[in-house]
């Protein structure tokens, strides 16, 4: 018994010191062996595979619609742009949640049944239940682990709609809520404001404008480091079908290194910019997606 405890402690410290990399081979091996069993069990449970592609596309549209924050003019605009989804360069891959570990309370991560063979790779956004539910932590050939937005490790740049204020969104841990730290101490925020993703360079992990949640309370007065509770749009732990957002293929970035991309240049046809972004988040910062736009590489290269 003492030997087992020493062995357990040793294994644990190696895991902690190497940040998991020491066992990554074992973990992916276990995933390759066991996830097919998990997926088979889940499929036997509910035979929803046929619909899952449609459900996933629907999730994506709902996430983007929710980002409009109920604003009617923007809604009309959005409906216009939604027609471009097929050409927007951001494909979605439908996946089922096949496993989670909830022995001690709400899960912080789930397993989905799509992996690198289906273009699902690390650091992609995962949608479900009408909003963002997480990001891909690791992927094997036919499965991936998704860290949920409610996990305490979760951090994402965020924007408020309609005010456009930026901030940092964090997972709140076991309580199931999120918290948003707003940069502008004097930001005018009202209860029910929608929180959407700010967007990441190259759309990875997060394309801009995906609905995350709504501000549930504005109790704290305006001031520096103001932190607001946010209720997730998605019923994170009740979702069974998800859509993984596959960012548009990046042109080779090497030639443009050092040269500022002409990002403000508007793109006439959707390009790689996701729907919610342009419609719901107008202000200032250059859309990170624009740098990846088709045809710009040659223009900037010397």
């Amino acid at each position: 018994m003492a030997f087992l405890l020493v062995l357990g402690l040793t294994l644990m410290f190696v895991d902690l010191l190497t940040d998991g990399s020491a066992y990554s081979g074992f973990r992916s091996g276990a995933a390759a062996l066991v996830t097919p069993l998990q997926a088979g069990a889940t499929e036997a449970l509910d035979d929803q595979q046929a619909d899952s592609a449609l459900v996933a596309e629907n999730e994506r549209l709902r996430a983007e619609l929710a980002a409009a924050g109920g604003d009617q003019t923007r809604l009309a605009e959005l409906e216009d742009v939604l027609g471009l989804v097929g050409r927007s360069g951001q494909a979605v891959v439908a996946a089922s949640i096949v496993a989670e570990d909830a022995r001690a309370g709400p899960p912080t991560a789930v397993v989905i049944d799509r992996g690198t063979a289906d273009s699902v790779t690390q650091d992609q956004a995962v949608l479900g239940g009408g909003g963002l539910i997480g990001r891909v932590r690791t992927a094997t050939a036919h499965s991936a682990v998704v860290d949920l937005i409610t996990s305490p490790d979760f951090v994402a740049g965020a924007r408020l709609v309609p005010s456009g204020e930026a901030g940092i969104l964090r997972g709140g841990g076991a309580s199931g809520t999120l918290s948003l730290q707003v940069f502008n101490p004097n930001a005018a925020i009202t209860q029910g404001d929608t929180v959407v993703t700010f967007g990441s360079p190259g759309n990875s992990p997060f394309p801009p404008g995906l609905a995350i949640g709504t501000v549930s309370e504005v109790g704290q007065p305006a001031g520096p480091l103001r932190t607001l509770p946010v209720t997730p749009t998605a019923a994170v732990t009740k979702t069974t079908v998800v859509a993984v957002v596959i960012p548009a293929a990046q042109p080779n970035p090497a030639p443009t290194v050092g040269a500022p991309p002409t990002a403000m240049q508007p793109e006439p046809t959707a390009g790689a910019a996701p729907v919610g972004a342009d419609a719901a988040v107008p202000p200032s910062t250059p859309s990170p997606a624009a740098g990846a736009g088709a045809g710009e590489g040659p223009a900037v290269a010397p």
Partner: protein, 169 residues
Amino acid sequence: MSALRWAVVAGLVLAATVIQTALLSRSVLPGPTPDLVALVVIGVALTQGANAGAIGGFGAGLLLALVPPAVGPIGLAAMGYAVVGYLVGSRAAGERLAHGEIAGLAAAVGASLAIGTALVGGLWGDGWMGPVALVITGALQATYCAALAVVVTPAVGALVSAIPGRYPV
């Protein structure tokens, strides 16, 4: 224990892990997922003794940390389940337990593991559960374990004991 018996234990632990992560986690039951793996470890420890219980528990914990979603560091759950297997095996191995005693034992184990996991998760940075949520989680896990143990634990014990081995208890 014979190699064949160990193989059966390994198969049961794997089956419990898959059922627990893929099926029971989808159930409509509120709160935590029933800890089927713990019930298998108890069944092994009751019929095979403390050492087999500890080793079986250690292996089960390793598997839980390796199989996706692979929550927590490798070795932590292994130590928890090994302690469970050792304690159950050293106190009660070979005794003919009534249904009520098995249920009580499983409830205690389930609640301890759930609360322990949540507390260690807090230390680990998984976010602290409030005291009320902690108690509710422990109580629900105890209830689920007690209910399932009456069926699962004797079945596991009988199956493992039925396999030829050198040290039948």
